[in-house]
Amino acid sequence: MSVMKYAIRLGDDAVVLGHRLSEWCSFGPFLEEDLALTNVALDFIGRARMFYSYAAELAGDGSTEDTYAYTRDNREFTNLLIHELKNGDFAFTMVRQYFVDVYTLAYMQQLQKSSDQTLAAIADKVVKESRYHLRRSYDWMLRLGDGTEESNRRMQEAVENLWGYVPEMFEMDDLERELAEAGIGVDAAALENDWYATVRATLAQANLKEPVGDWSIRGGREGTHTEALGHILSDMQFVQRAYPGLQW
């Protein structure tokens, strides 16, 4: 039961960010980046499918991956808040991506060691994708942070606006502690120091300042979301809500 919930959490993280990134499709700053960004979006959707399918298998109640993506309401989604935030400008999207990529790569590298074979196998695949995502987002951090006056200003703004969503990534509840102790889940708290060290180094390199960090927000894992999630779901779930069970 707890592994199922855990798989749903990781699926939620992936589907929500995947959907967000897909919103860039045909709106990318230029064709090449549009294609690349959509590729990344697809990776996240694929990741969500793997976690959801595993959850459905564990649930054994006839649920499928679609059940989780399309028929649950706002409060039932358990993604970390950073994934659901609106895309904002390209700078915001890329800073968010960089923060998530640094986190996800470290997280999935730990999940590769899970005693749960399926989770470990999914993590194997995710790590390869994440390395590539991180190479891209890191590259954009440097390009835009250390670019023009305007790109630097936009990146700095994005960093400030995202900084308070970071602490939540390293907070664990009973479920995650239990699974980490059992060698199934990841000890996210243990990743915190490395994350800050890596990101600080990149900020310095990209000519960006570390924010003071006097606010933080949390609640995603308990189903308390920002208003942004409802907007994603209304878009993503519309067809299944209007025509329940529709297939094509």
Partner: protein
């Protein structure tokens, strides 16, 4: 944005191929980025195992208008083509 970016030509060597083949072009800020984009645009269905990108402006190309002087003279020299030579009967099919 793309009007400020450089044009790159992309060459890919396929899994079984021996040489890199021209597959198209793309815009990027620098060669490193061009390589990343080439991966996204041209190798999504595992088309290749090796990618080259080269600044389009570094290619010196023959001009269509030069066709006369470039290629036509070859047509006057049929002996450069294998078909010019009659095979001895004994060879039969070659």
């Amino acid at each position: 944005m793309s009007e400020h970016m450089k044009l790159y030509e992309v060459f890919i060597r396929s899994r079984r191929g021996l040489d890199h083949k021209h597959v198209g072009s793309l815009h990027a800020e620098d060669p490193k980025q061009a390589l990343e984009y080439a991966r996204d645009i041209y190798t999504r269905r595992s088309e290749g195992v090796s990618i080259w990108v080269i600044n389009s402006s570094d290619i010196t190309a023959s001009q269509e208008g030069d066709c006369d002087s470039f290629y036509d003279p070859h047509d006057d020299k049929p002996y450069r083509h294998a078909t010019h030579y009659q095979l001895p009967k004994a060879v039969n099919n070659m």
